[in-house]
């Protein structure tokens, strides 16, 4: 696979290195001359100097044959432009864009750029994972494929606590795929009894979170989301 990474900051440089280690063909583009010279010492010909929002720079990097373009500069307007041009002008099949300021996410969406990766968002998810009082953690969101995996903690007074899997009235389009109990995960059977404090992984169609959360949340508490 041929991958172009735009922006050789901490994210771009490390990403390029990892991808090269995995055996991918990678070109990294960096617009700051001094930064380029530093990165070039390690990555040599795999890094090119230039402003990745200039069409000729992208063309020089071979964007016409790129399978994936990753826009991870520190400026959202640049990432939007690179993604838009890559997708619509050069018909690159896959794009990944970084959102620096979460408030700009709407602009990416408006212009049809996805998936987007926001560091703020990722850190928030980690916090939710580590500090699970939020109740519900999104582990995976595949918007295009309309598929999600969420993690829920079974509250002490949840309606499902003490019930068997086959007694849990989950909506169509959802399935309990794993239970984490005492630090260990297992795939439940229909007669597995759900205990309070269990972490339940559910795969679901988007839009079912609320209904599912209700089954595992404390009956007094508001559901998370």
């Amino acid at each position: 696979m041929y991958i172009i990474v735009c922006g050789a900051g901490k994210v771009g440089w490390n990403l390029a290195r990892e991808l090269i280690d995995k055996g991918e063909e990678v070109t990294l583009i960096e617009g700051d001359r001094r930064r380029y010279l530093v990165v070039e010492q390690e990555l040599e010909h795999a890094v090119q100097y230039g402003d990745a929002t200039e069409l000729w720079v992208l063309e020089r990097a071979g964007i016409q044959r790129a399978d994936l373009v990753i826009a991870v500069t520190g400026d959202d307007e640049d990432n939007i432009l690179i993604s838009q041009v890559a997708k619509e002008k050069y018909l690159v099949e896959r794009i990944v864009a970084r959102v620096n300021n979460p408030r700009n996410v709407d602009h990416f969406k408006l212009l049809g750029i996805h998936p987007v990766v926001s560091a703020t968002d990722l850190i928030l998810r980690l916090i939710e994972h580590e500090v699970p009082q939020y109740g519900l953690v999104h582990l995976l969101d595949l918007a295009e494929e309309r598929l999600e995996i969420i993690e829920l903690i079974v509250a002490d007074d949840a309606v499902t606590a003490g019930k068997r899997i086959n007694e849990v009235p989950l909506p169509d389009g959802s399935l309990i795929i794993s239970i984490l109990r005492g630090g260990e995960g297992f795939v439940p059977k229909s007669d597995t009894v759900i205990e309070s404090g269990d972490e339940v992984l559910v795969v679901l169609d988007p839009g079912l979170e609320e209904e599912i959360t209700r089954q595992f949340a404390s009956q007094g508490a508001a559901t998370g989301g």
């Binding site: 041009v85 619509e88 408006l110 212009l111």
Partner: protein, 140 residues
Amino acid sequence: MFVLIVGAGRVGSAVARWSLDQGNEVSVLDEDPLSQERLNRDQTTSWDDAGGMFTVGTALEVDALEAAGIERADVCIVCTDGDNTNLVVGQVAQRRFEVGRVIVRVLDPYRAEWYREQGLHTICPTQVAIEMLEEAVVSS
């Protein structure tokens, strides 16, 4: 007409002043409070006194665009000093706020051309300069 001008540099401030003199309602958005002074330069009445509006804010922030009145703008001229910012803001004005007439200043001729082909009204001063220089060479 309500005219919103995003970016009050040399170009933006001059167009803003002209637009106000034409009898339009004019609102200017710029992230630098000092750029309001540019609107007052060589003028007998200040921008405020002449009835112009000025909002300090970042062009990419929807809140700032709304504070500057984008929702009721008939015309939106985007001319900050960043081509990419202008291209994004221009598309936001066109697609999200459905401003009737959006004009975007883009210095890079290639980006200006491609986005023009995509239906965005771009103006490229660089291209104008190139053509003028070429013409000057031929006619001299």
